[in-house]
């Protein structure tokens, strides 16, 4: 076990864990930030997506010793009151069914919009196809994304 200081949701956090521990389990087990979900552990479903310096990353593929000074944002830190434009769009379109994958979907979209405020269908599909929704809410996810003018 090694002691690390990492920045999560704007705060410096101290964690003791093995260097190869995926960030996913650091968040869920050490920091009790369970909004980031385990889905596959191999970077194939997107349920564990977080922002690393503003870019979407699969936290199951990022070992703790490679986090360094990078700033991590999880679904819990995306907005103070759940009022990020993407979260609002998700509520407006009542996207969720079981809801398990939606934190990952929202983190992927919000990172996309940081860099491309008005994505077209092709860009949305290319980005979002890394996130599986077993309930099949894809048409609503797409409609919700398209309803967001821009995060500016």
């Amino acid at each position: 076990m090694t002691s690390y200081q990492i920045e999560v949701n704007g705060k410096a956090r101290q964690v003791n864990a093995d260097p190869d521990t995926p960030l996913l389990w650091v968040l869920r087990d050490n920091l009790q930030l369970v909004g980031t979900k385990y889905g596959c552990g191999v970077g194939s479903c997107g349920a564990c997506t977080v922002h690393v310096d503003g870019f979407a990353m699969r936290s199951c593929q990022l070992p703790l010793d490679q986090v360094g000074e990078q700033s991590i944002t999880t679904i819990e830190g995306l907005s103070e009151h759940g009022n990020h434009p993407v979260q609002r769009a998700w509520l407006d379109h009542d996207v969720a069914q079981c809801g398990y994958c939606q934190a990952g979907q929202i983190m992927t979209v919000s990172a996309l919009l940081n860099h491309s405020p008005n994505p077209d269908d092709a860009e949305i599909e290319a980005t979002m196809s890394g996130n599986i929704c077993r309930c099949g809410t894809y048409t609503r996810i797409k409609a919700a994304i398209k309803s967001i003018d821009s995060v500016g």
Partner: protein, 755 residues
């Protein structure tokens, strides 16, 4: 109009539903705290104001002194929306403002809430009358309380949106002001229910009451459950079906790994245990690895070396829904290629006759033409996004369980039998499920967690890795069906013959359409024993039969030179006007209704010559669904342009959420029809994670889905499953239009297939 038996059912529901009202909510606290589910406040920062005191009116609701109402949803939530729709039904009859409602998952308590089950699309259907009655009787008690307080006749008191009024004396009071008196009143026997035309909540879309918690990452799911001192456990199971545990080779080494508390082998059932209907479980002998947190346990799991041995053949006795049955479990390591050839062999010999009308043999002998086609489909894994998991804490003779499960009442007696603990000492908390699709009806993982907790004497969370979840499955079986049609010299259909089977169960529904629409009809079935475990998967058996039947009817219509919708309507017309046989389990008129609606909404036949579209309709789980699917092949890949869908499921409680579920069923159908497949080599699943198991993704989903419900005043019927099965037929028929080639083997766009 209520029939006598309906009234009796309601009384029974309320009686059981009211026993011991005022019961304490048991269970653990979420470490991170659990905010209220804010029914009417999904867009606001906070929910209804919490009152100083609550009054239990009946098992399903309590009213705060400020008028806030908490409504308990008896059935577990797995994304089908019951935590929103069930309180809507009660709130309608209670006549309360939706914004004052808090929705909570009821505790598991069969005495108070009856059969708390999610499955078979029966949730809303089975709770409809009882929840209305619970709301209506509570309203009546509030009215009586107000009348007593104001000393006015009961029939002069009216209600509106959570308030009571006496217009003659110009008095009014909130529900919360009279709840204390109301709670002391006797429960009225039977009270009138609202007229459907007066509904103001039912039929008006309400947003998911947990929507805000979902989008903010609030802990809701079983896997998010936390308790002080909780350890993490994982299991190791045989890699192949047909194998069992032999020995651990490096026990001490793995036990000594950092963060590991214990490694041990255990048996999930006692010898000779008679299984219940949901006790399906391929690997009842497991190795448990317990540690401080997930990653060390995952590493230990990788390091553990276990020898497995062949599982000899056995006969399992099951006391399930169809009474006592036995299951022959053969020995050996099975292969999907063998399954396919054995299914073809079985299809070629006579099966077990299930239904026969007229003289099908003669009709086939005298036919001018016989159309015969065979259809097949592979095993499928459920692949719920939240892997199987369970929290358990065993202390002495007390068991606490929390986690995602569809049928708590079915695992409780199994836990009791294994642990020699009375059911009264077992407490099960139902968490929101990250999907279910049938898989979580079989909650052996709850018992596994309890046994692990008992062994390590600590609260434990058992988590299946994705690989465990996919390879320790209770799968959709592999199926096969042969359809034959006899056509006479006048080009008329004279007989139908269906022979269906599977590994290890038959998918046949002998009394469903087209039975009843053809004079001469024969339905036969067969099955092949297997040691691969199977179980309910969204619309069991229907999810295969609908595709086979609707693809065959399409080809038959073409053979007869008829429009596919007209042909189906002709058959349904015959079934309505002059049905063959007496046991046809469908209503031809409602069946035809969805076909007519989807024809209209899709613009079928109205200048659609350029569209490559397939139609399909099916009846299951008491509801009717029809789809028109428009397909284009782009760069050699199937692209679903649009699915138009018509559903008759009676009254729709929460229309937008209902449309969402239908959309999901359609996406699920498109994905499984085109890509879904789990094959086995030497008993081992060939895929174990999402990098190899092809799940539908956004770029493969239909570009547009247009859902329509048949307006209805019939009590609600199923919705979670019915839209799913007909997708397979619509897809098969659209592929034919788009490629000129009919495909009979699912997945239609599996590996190696090109457009």
């Amino acid at each position: 109009m209520s029939t006598h038996s309906e009234i009796n059912q309601r009384r029974r529901f309320l009686k059981t539903g009211l026993l011991g009202s005022g019961g304490l909510l048991l269970g653990f606290n979420w470490l991170t705290g659990c905010t209220n589910n804010t029914a009417g406040h999904v867009d606001a920062d906070s929910g209804p104001e919490l009152p100083d005191t609550w009054q239990d009116i009946n098992a399903y609701l309590k009213i705060g002194n400020n008028g806030t109402v908490t409504i308990y949803t008896p059935n577990p939530e797995f994304g089908q929306g019951v935590m929103t729709a069930m309180p809507m039904i009660l709130a309608e009859e209670l006549d309360v403002d939706w914004k004052d409602v808090i929705s909570e998952q009821a505790p598991f308590n069969a005495e108070k809430f009856g059969f708390q089950f999610t499955g078979g699309s029966r949730g809303i259907m089975s709770r409809w009358a009882g929840l209305r009655q619970a709301g209506a009787t509570a309203r009546q008690m509030l009215i009586t309380a107000a009348a007593q307080q104001w000393e006015v006749p009961v029939n002069e008191v009216s209600t509106k949106a959570g308030r009571l009024f006496h217009s003659a004396s110009d008095r009014s009071a909130g529900y919360g002001e009279v709840a204390t008196i109301a709670a002391t009143l006797p429960m009225p026997e039977e009270v009138p229910l609202k007229e459907i035309k007066d509904f103001s909540i039912i039929g008006n879309s309400k947003k998911n009451v947990q929507g805000r918690q979902i989008v903010t990452g609030h802990p809701l799911f079983g896997i998010d459950y936390r308790k002080e001192g909780m350890l993490t456990a994982m299991i190791v199971h045989p890699p192949s079906f047909g194998q069992k545990f032999h020995r651990i080779r490096n026990l001490d080494e793995v036990k000594g790994m950092p963060g590991i508390r214990d490694v041990f082998h255990f048996q999930t059932y006692k010898d000779g245990f008679e299984k219940g209907g949901f006790d399906t479980n391929a690997f009842p002998e497991l190795v448990a690895i317990v540690g401080d947190s997930t990653w060390p346990v995952m590493k230990a799991k990788k390091a553990l070396l276990v020898d497995w041995q062949e599982q000899e053949a056995f006969v399992e006795s099951i006391n399930g829904f169809r009474g006592k049955t036995t299951r022959n479990v053969p020995t050996g390591l099975e292969n999907s290629t063998d399954h396919e050839s054995r299914m073809k062999e079985m299809a070629a010999i006579p099966g077990r006759e299930v239904r026969k009308d007229g003289d099908p043999e003669r009709a086939f002998q005298s036919a001018t033409k016989v159309l015969e086609r065979s259809y097949s489909a592979p095993f499928l894994a459920h692949n719920c996004m939240e892997p199987m998991n369970a929290f358990a804490h065993v202390e002495g003779d007390k068991v606490w369980i929390a986690g995602p499960l569809q049928a708590p009442g079915m695992i409780e007696p199994t836990i009791a039998a294994r642990m020699d603990i009375p059911v009264e000492n077992i407490d099960i908390e139902m968490t929101r499920m990250g999907g279910g699709f049938g898989r979580r009806a079989y909650s052996h993982y709850m018992l596994e967690a309890a046994l692990i907790s008992q062994q390590v004497k600590a609260p434990v969370q058992l988590i299946y890795s994705r690989e465990d979840d996919m390879t320790n499955g209770i799968y959709r079986p592999a199926y096969h069906a042969t359809y034959r049609a006899a056509i006479d010299e006048n080009g008329q259909l004279t007989a139908l013959h269906i022979k269906a089977g599977g590994v290890p169960e038959s998918p046949l529904f002998a009394n469903r359409f087209p039975a009843g629409s053809v004079d001469n009809y024969l339905a036969e079935e067969w099955s092949i024993d297997s040691n691969i475990t199977i179980g309910a998967f969204r619309a069991p058996r229907s999810n295969f039969m609908a595709g086979a039947e609707q693809a065959f009817l399409d080809e038959l219509a073409e053979e007869l030179g008829k429009d596919p919708i007209d042909f189906r309507l002709e058959l349904l017309d015959r079934a309505k006007e002059n049905p063959v046989g007496e046991q046809n389990d469908y209503d031809p008129e409602r069946y035809a209704g969805v076909l007519k609606l989807v024809r209209k909404k899709s613009g079928w036949g109205e200048g659609d010559q350029d569209l490559q579209r397939g139609v399909s309709a099916y009846f299951c789980h008491n509801s009717y669904a029809a789809h028109v699917l428009d397909l284009k092949i782009e760069d050699g890949k199937p692209v679903v342009q649009k699915v138009t869908c018509a559903i008759d499921c009676g009254i729709v409680v929460n229309p937008d959420a209902a449309a969402n579920m239908a959309e999901g069923g359609i996406v699920d159908g498109v994905g499984n029809a085109l890509y879904g497949e789990l094959t086995f080599t030497d008993g081992k699943p060939d895929k174990n994670n999402f990098d190899t198991y092809r799940m539908i993704r956004m770029n493969e989903a239909p570009k547009e889905i247009d859902v329509h419900f048949v307006p209805s005043e019939i009590d609600p019927t199923g919705l979670g499953e019915p839209p799913f099965p007909p997708v397979f037929g619509a897809m098969a028929n659209a592929i034919y239009k788009a490629t000129g080639e009919r495909r009979y083997r699912q997945p239609f766009w599996g590996e190696g297939l090109k457009g």
